[in-house]
Amino acid sequence: MRRRSFFRVAGAAAAASTLVLAGCNPGDDSPKPSTNPNLLILGGGDNGLLNYAYLLEQLEAAFYQKVLDALPADLLPGEKDALTDLRDHEVIHREFFKQALGTNAIESFDFDFSTLTLTTRAGVFAAAKKLEDLGVAAYAGVGKLITSSVYLGLVAKIASVEARHAAYVRDAVQANSLATADADTIITTGDFAALNVALTPAQVMSAAAPFLKFIVDTSQLPKA
């Protein structure tokens, strides 16, 4: 991870006071300095939410780039092109959020994919399925918290493309995958049956933790 704007300071006491100060200034949505070199504090407001999305898109773009850097030998025809499309879409999403955030953007990060098996087709698509489903559930969970209707619209334009990605990689894992109901993806019972699962930022960051070289503090993101 690059250091310059991913603030590192000294001592937990300073971190606590940063949080308190941030709480006193709800109008400031910029990412907050952290005293812990391994802690990324996402800011509040729409900027915090956009930074959350920016972090997820960084993760997805880095994943597909890593896959393309050393493609498994057993890919089926057409899959290299599709994985290239997926990488390109995620890079575009990443750069979109970076430009939208401007000086409020968090740093760009490296990720740790060492827990994944990326040398086989099955391993690549199993990992992609987890990441894409996570992205879809993340967007479904935070879209409502965005206060700007313009950014809500822009995020929704990306969210449905992520759902298309998820469908693609799920079918790559298992042909006609939608035939098998999966309650982790689409709710299967109750009043909210047939709605996509929605996850909170804390849930998403917990699931993404194996890939992150740092801890993400989502506590300043809007909750309602």
């Binding site: 499309d85 809500l152 298309r164 469908a167 693609y168 047939a194």
Partner: protein, 291 residues
């Protein structure tokens, strides 16, 4: 005056008053508890001045959105129900393994119909009746059919399914701004929007498996399956620029530093963002199959 319209207008002209009412009574914020019934009786006294401001405006409301959504979900539900019937009757032959997918999709659409019906009922709002559908596009034989073999030719069925699902995704996206005042409603719409996008992609994948030049995402490189009547399904969908209002540089990507990634940057830019359609376009497209 419809209570939904009134509250939506109130949210617009006086967000603070709306918040006070909403917080106090749980109005429009209680989708999860299905307790919108309270809204009809919850208006406290002393808000006359605010209501005067809200009254008489004619903006689209949450109720309008739910009515459109219910129509689209009825459309999709009946479409798949008819196709599965045709499969059972032997008049439509599904590609191996796909019938079970369409059973799931139909079950999802049926649940979406029920979801919106419940929301409308629990708000004491009128629940619109299911329209009459003709998926050949002949309006019950009163005009030439657009897709005469929709339930006898699997390739045609898949094409119409793709058009309906992609329309649904774009339509939900176009409605989100009208739901922004209510987090619970907005979240449900986003969750359904994601499921419709999954449907669209799975159906596109089935067409590709049968030899069509089509991707799971909407691409300029996809073969054209629309005609004059259905052109609006993809009109404006391949936008290569996004507008970022209020920033020093209001366009993504910028003109000065062309954004290049991968072998076909402009096509990828169009693919990476799904675009909305308006209420009017969505209604017109649904109208192709209603009579």
């Amino acid at each position: 005056m419809n209570i939904f319209k009134l509250l939506a207008n109130l949210a617009e002209v006086d967000p603070e008053a709306y918040q006070r009412l909403s917080a106090r009574r749980g109005m429009l914020s209680s989708l999860g508890q299905l307790s919108r019934k309270t809204a009809a009786t919850a208006l406290p006294l002393g808000v006359g001045a605010v209501l005067q401001k809200a009254y008489g405006r004619n903006t689209q409301t949450i109720l309008d959105t739910f009515t459109l959504a219910l129509t689209l979900e009825h459309l999709e539900n009946e479409f798949y129900t008819k196709a599965l019937e045709a499969g059972r009757n032997g008049t439509l032959t599904f590609a191996p393994g796909t019938q079970a997918v369409f059973q799931q999709i139909q079950a999802h659409e049926q649940a979406h119909v029920a979801f919106f019906q419940r929301q409308l009922q629990s708000s004491n709002a009128a629940v619109p009746a299911k329209p009459n559908f003709d998926f050949t596009g002949s309006k019950n034989g009163t005009k030439p059919a657009l897709y005469a073999d929709v339930f006898t030719n699997f390739a045609t069925f898949l094409k119409v399914a793709q058009l309906l699902e992609d329309t649904g995704v774009r339509a939900y996206k176009g409605q989100l701004e009208f739901l922004i005042s209510d987090n619970d409603v907005l979240q449900a719409a986003l969750q359904i929007h994601a499921v419709e996008a999954r449907h669209a992609a799975h159906i596109r994948g089935m067409r590709r498996a049968l030899g069509a030049n089509v991707r799971d995402w909407i691409s300029k490189d996809d073969e054209t399956i629309t005609n004059t009547s259905t052109a609006a399904v993809y009109a404006g969908e391949d936008a290569e620029k996004q507008t970022l209002p209020g920033l020093p540089i209001t366009q993504f990507p910028t003109d000065t530093t062309p954004f290049a990634v991968g072998p076909k940057p402009k096509v990828s830019l169009g693919e990476a963002f799904d675009e909305p359609i308006t209420t009017g376009v969505a209604t017109q497209l649904a109208g192709l199959f209603t009579f």
